[in-house]
């Protein structure tokens, strides 16, 4: 084999990571909450770790902000990060380390020039921010040039298997808001529909795809979230806000399709970050 082909193939087999772990490494299926999940009524732009640990810089950079919780009556707002450190990196990227224990927040990071090296410890994850259950470090990656939140897992190392994804509770919702549970109803009127699955409380696909008769109609990607006006959205055929993506606690949008009269095969695919797919299909009579 030619030497010029060996290197690209070698890199293709080894997962490349732009960032190191922002805390002690954990298995891929062990995070408390994943990017893109429904979290506190919002589409989460954070990766939430489950176990407390030292919090450390994921890459070389410059500490540009330290957000603090204040026990005093101060002029400052209460950030839902609690205590947090924000680091600027090359390529217009910011990393955010939230929910740090105030007692452990290192003071040396801003006594010096403010530059940090990969692995510089900021403190320990604590309980200063908005959090549920066993939440610990809240980690974010922000692309300031494109004004997007990037799924941190795209840039981080990954260990082990992903959480299994399920396609259950498939529901179609018409433009008028009428819902059809495909488990009990396969004959439905033609029109534009949103395709929902039953949301899993923790696991979330990296991509969801809906097809009609084998043709891809819509793909929603969770590699990044964007701000559209005053709303955070996931990108698919359109930008989907939280109210569309998660109309309630139970459902998660897979995509939008237009069903035309006749026999239609509605296909759905969920892919995890490693590309492993879960598929399902329903034969529908459209009138």
């Amino acid at each position: 084999m030619k030497k010029s082909l060996i290197l690209p193939l070698l890199f293709a087999t080894v997962p490349l990571a732009a960032f190191d772990w922002p805390q002690e490494e954990i298995m891929s299926d062990s995070f408390y909450s994943y990017f893109g999940q429904l979290r506190g009524g919002t589409i989460s732009t954070s990766l939430i770790f489950a176990d407390p640990s030292d919090v450390k810089a994921a890459d070389d950079g410059k500490v540009i902000a330290v957000i603090s919780e204040y026990d005093d009556d101060s002029c400052f707002f209460p950030s839902s990060f609690g205590n947090a450190v924000i680091v600027a990196h090359n390529d217009n990227l910011l990393t955010v380390y939230g929910n740090i224990d105030g007692e452990t927040l290192s003071k040396t990071i801003y006594n010096t020039s403010g530059t940090v090296k990969t692995g510089t410890v900021f403190g320990s994850s604590g309980n200063s921010g908005w959090q549920q259950g066993r939440s610990s470090l809240e980690f974010q990656v922000v692309d300031t040039k494109n004004n997007t939140a990037i799924n941190p897992r795209v840039l981080m190392p990954r260990i082990g298997e992903e959480l299994p994804l399920t396609l259950t509770g498939i529901t179609l919702e018409s433009k008028t808001g009428t819902r059809y549970d495909l488990l009990v109803q396969r004959t439905i009127p033609s029109g534009l529909y949103r395709v929902y699955r039953q949301r899993q409380p923790v696991a979330i696909p990296y991509r969801s795809r809906v097809t009609i008769n084998g043709i891809i109609i819509d793909t929603i990607a969770y590699d990044q979230l964007i701000r559209e006006g005053n709303t955070v959205c996931a990108a698919g055929l359109r930008y989907y806000s939280k109210d569309v993506l998660y109309p309630d606690d139970r459902l998660q949008l897979l995509g939008e399709v237009t069903l035309t009269p006749g026999k239609n095969t509605l296909g759905m695919t969920l892919a995890d970050i490693l590309g492993k797919e879960t598929t399902s299909a329903y034969s529908l009579i459209i009138y």
Partner: protein, 353 residues
């Protein structure tokens, strides 16, 4: 003999000159501000009593306790809470780390409504905000707690201020957005001027015509911008030295004529026309600034040491005092300065004598 007479003459002349100087050069002393202690209450031992008719409740927040007292030293209410609380003269509530719905109360203890947004609520006078999970989004609520408008973003919020005219939000990417009282983004600009743009402090003037910010690292910069249609025209700026990633106090006077801002090691003072500006050295991070007539009081914190600075407008530092505490606050009402320290609140009257 002649020499002795000459010496006596000169001594006499000197004494005469001294007497004449004392008589003619004397000027009455100018009036000075004096701090007269009035009372001190201990919130950990004093039992609260119902608000007297006509009395105005003033809020306090000390560590894990918050409540209301009056100018006369009456403790009206006190609450302890395990996580966090927010309080203003209008409303009070405490909340948990996973708060998703919380009742909030008027100063008299009556229920005002329920906030059903997840996140950390924040009362600024009679305005109600909730900082949503993720650190980049904020909601303003109606007086009953229902959602009025929502700003959802992807970049962390690093600075915030509100007035009756709306609010100003600063972000980690160096952007400042002014949001109107009905939730529309009416202005957006980047103060810039530094290698690393980040907004560390922001304020909206009470009359709604100015925005002031402290931003950046390496070369940190103060910017005062006057609103000009949908744009913001910079009327004054200055670089304020050393890098420091802490959040910074930026505050307008009640009449919008003066802006105070904190930077590493100092307090900047600028008039809103940008024609007059000054610096006063201060220790630590400024937490709170209160006006009382022609005086301004600044509370700063450095490790566990709090310092209260008394400044006569425009930029005369009259004095300061420091104390060690776990938590502290200052408030002013009329010519009173209230100082909170751990569990105690003291009233000091300001008199010019």
């Amino acid at each position: 003999m002649k020499t002795k007479k000459s010496i006596a003459f000169y001594v006499f002349l000197s004494i005469l000159f001294c007497i004449a100087y004392i008589i003619f050069a004397a000027r009455p002393l100018t009036t000075e501000y004096q701090f007269v202690p009035q009372w001190k209450i201990d919130t950990s031992t004093q039992a609260p009593s119902p608000l007297s008719p006509g009395a105005v409740p003033l809020y306090f927040h000390l560590g894990q306790t918050a409540g209301y007292f009056t100018e006369d030293g009456q403790l009206v209410s006190i609450s302890t809470f395990p996580f966090k609380a927010t309080i203003s003269d209008s409303y009070f509530t405490s909340y948990t780390a996973d708060n998703s719905s919380v009742d909030f109360y008027h100063a008299d203890g009556s229920r005002a409504g329920t906030i059903t947004e997840s996140g950390f609520p924040f009362f600024d006078e009679d305005r109600i905000f909730v900082f949503l999970p993720g650190g980049s989004s904020v909601v303003q609520c109606n007086p009953d707690g229902s959602k009025k408008w929502q700003y959802g973003g992807t970049v962390p919020i690093t600075a915030f201020d509100s007035s009756k005219n709306g609010c100003v939000v600063g972000f980690a990417d160096g952007t400042v957005r002014e949001i109107s009282a009905d939730g529309k983004i009416v202005r957006e600009f980047v103060p810039g001027g530094s290698d690393y743009s980040v907004i560390l402090g922001a304020a909206l003037s009470p009359d709604g015509s100015y925005i002031a910010t402290v931003s950046g690292q390496d070369r940190q910069r103060f910017v005062l911008a006057k609103k000009d249609g949908t744009h913001a025209k910079i009327v004054f700026h200055e670089f304020v030295g050393q890098s420091d990633p802490h959040q910074r106090l930026v505050q307008f006077s009640r009449d919008s004529s003066i802006i105070w801002y904190n930077f590493n090691g100092g307090l900047g003072i600028v008039d809103s026309e940008g024609k007059k500006h000054s610096h006063i050295p201060v220790r630590g991070q400024a937490l709170s600034l209160q006006e009382a007539g022609n005086m301004v009081f600044l509370l700063t914190k450095e490790n566990t040491t709090y310092t209260v600075y008394a400044i006569e407008k425009f930029d005369t530092l009259c004095g300061s005092f420091s104390f060690d505490a776990r938590s502290a606050f200052i408030r002013t009402e009329g010519n009173n300065l209230f100082v909170g320290k751990d569990t105690t609140v003291s009233r000091i009257t300001l008199e010019k004598k």
